[in-house]
Symmetry: C2
Subunit: 327 residues, 2 copies
Amino acid sequence: MGLDNRVNCCPDGLVTDRRRRIKVLDCTIRDGGICNQWDFDHALVRQVFDALAASGIDYMEVGYKTQDGVFDRNAVGPWRFCEEADLRQVVEAGPMKIATMVDVNRVTHKEIPPSDDTAIDVIRIATYAHQIEDALTLLDHCLEQGYETFMNVMAVSTLSPDEVDTFLKKLAGSGIHNVAIVDSYGALYPYHVRYLVHKYMNYLGEQTKVGVHFHNNQQQAFANSIAAIDEGVDFVDATLHGIGRGAGNCPLELLLFYLDNPRHDPRPILDLVEHFASMREDLRWGYHLPYAISGYFNIHPRSAMDRMARMDRYQVREMFETLAKDT
Amino acid sequence: MGLDNRVNCCPDGLVTDRRRRIKVLDCTIRDGGICNQWDFDHALVRQVFDALAASGIDYMEVGYKTQDGVFDRNAVGPWRFCEEADLRQVVEAGPMKIATMVDVNRVTHKEIPPSDDTAIDVIRIATYAHQIEDALTLLDHCLEQGYETFMNVMAVSTLSPDEVDTFLKKLAGSGIHNVAIVDSYGALYPYHVRYLVHKYMNYLGEQTKVGVHFHNNQQQAFANSIAAIDEGVDFVDATLHGIGRGAGNCPLELLLFYLDNPRHDPRPILDLVEHFASMREDLRWGYHLPYAISGYFNIHPRSAMDRMARMDRYQVREMFETLAKDT
């Protein structure tokens, strides 16, 4: 519908072009699934598919492909596996592409058939920098099978500049279609993001697009996305109402408001917000002090998630002081 | 305590100087009071004073001065009036300065005695641009009485560039010590903020410091503060756990983490967070869809606050469509 920005105290033209070129990847079911063990029922996932498609979203990441034995199928929902029979109930071929994530070392070639045999268009490989050789082997298989292939090199905030250079050099010329800057710990501020966007773009060159996947521990997921858009990235990850591990991700509704692109319509996703807002009261993603502190100290959100499950979740001073001593 | 930023994938020196020059104004009781009719008990306000002082905060805004008859004293708490007898129970003279806000046309000269006769160091005048002449008259009185005097020209996001220029020209040379960029509606993005910081600094010159007061409707209060710090402002407003009208303000804890200034210690305020986090469950400030939508449409949060008090608070599509038609 293309609503113009309503603030008239500032000329707007400068940033419009950079906003409107962005492709949006929704990872509500995949990253949001970390909050509820991927236990979304098929009807809801279908509603999400329909709403995203109607809103003009470019990619829907619907879960993970996972090899047998890594997760107990009685303990986690279907979107940790994305079996073809499940996918066929919730997605349809159309302009919106369907993505699934795979974790390096939690998937074999068997789970990644030729792309013509599945509803999946895109495989996104999640890897840590130290696993990059295994990730490259997996990449070759995905490309051979005919997939558009993306890579998330996680927890970049924990690496030294040299370690970032090293994996980017290996990815340059690898054939990967998209590499995301991934702030798994919610530790980055916009000045980090600006620095990293230039680094990723310079190393990866024209053949590989740069995306971003941010966590909201310090209320920076959307702000960091804006900073990345300003610097020229092509893809931004977001989720409905910001659902995602720990503090969650960039809220899709805020991103669509900002992008101000006539090809996106925020209205269909607003119909789903009521449901996700209610889920948030139970699952407690969003801004909470334990997440803010784990983000600030640049550590995995695991301990903060454990704390959020307890009644004394907001008694954070001792958590802060322990981390301040350790780091 | 001066914790260094822990992200080592990005050189940090560039922004450190700009961060460390910032003075912090806490407006927990004043703006947070809009959430509970300023009905904080004296013991809690005293705890807030002690924590802010121990954390090295520069200014505490403890409420409003208000003329008789504007508010029913049985319906609102003491911090809407800041009588001297109340103030003396909760603050003490020390390095942290005590501020109160006054609304133009809701205060007379009688409520603003000579500064030597009160615990108040700073008067902050809240005005809309169209009331600027009355604000200037009030400013003269405050300066004569010996106060450091600040001004918040509200809802700048609703003004045209010319209207902003007009009030800034009137404030230049007026003797005002500090003028804040005030995003009352939570409508601004960082690119607006960067534009406005330069405009305010250019018009106001060296004599007048520029501050910022942001609302969090679109998760931009802290991000906009970072953008303003990058551009060279001197003051930033924040509140404990982000309490404030509607979606609230920039969370003080996040701001202190970011400023990374050895003269600030975040630990004392963390002791209060548990209390404010519990209050948030009842008072519902923070990120909620009705606030996101009112911010995006650049309207007063009043209708969103009314909606948040209802059970169907998250059914927002009709709200969105009505606003999309009207604007």
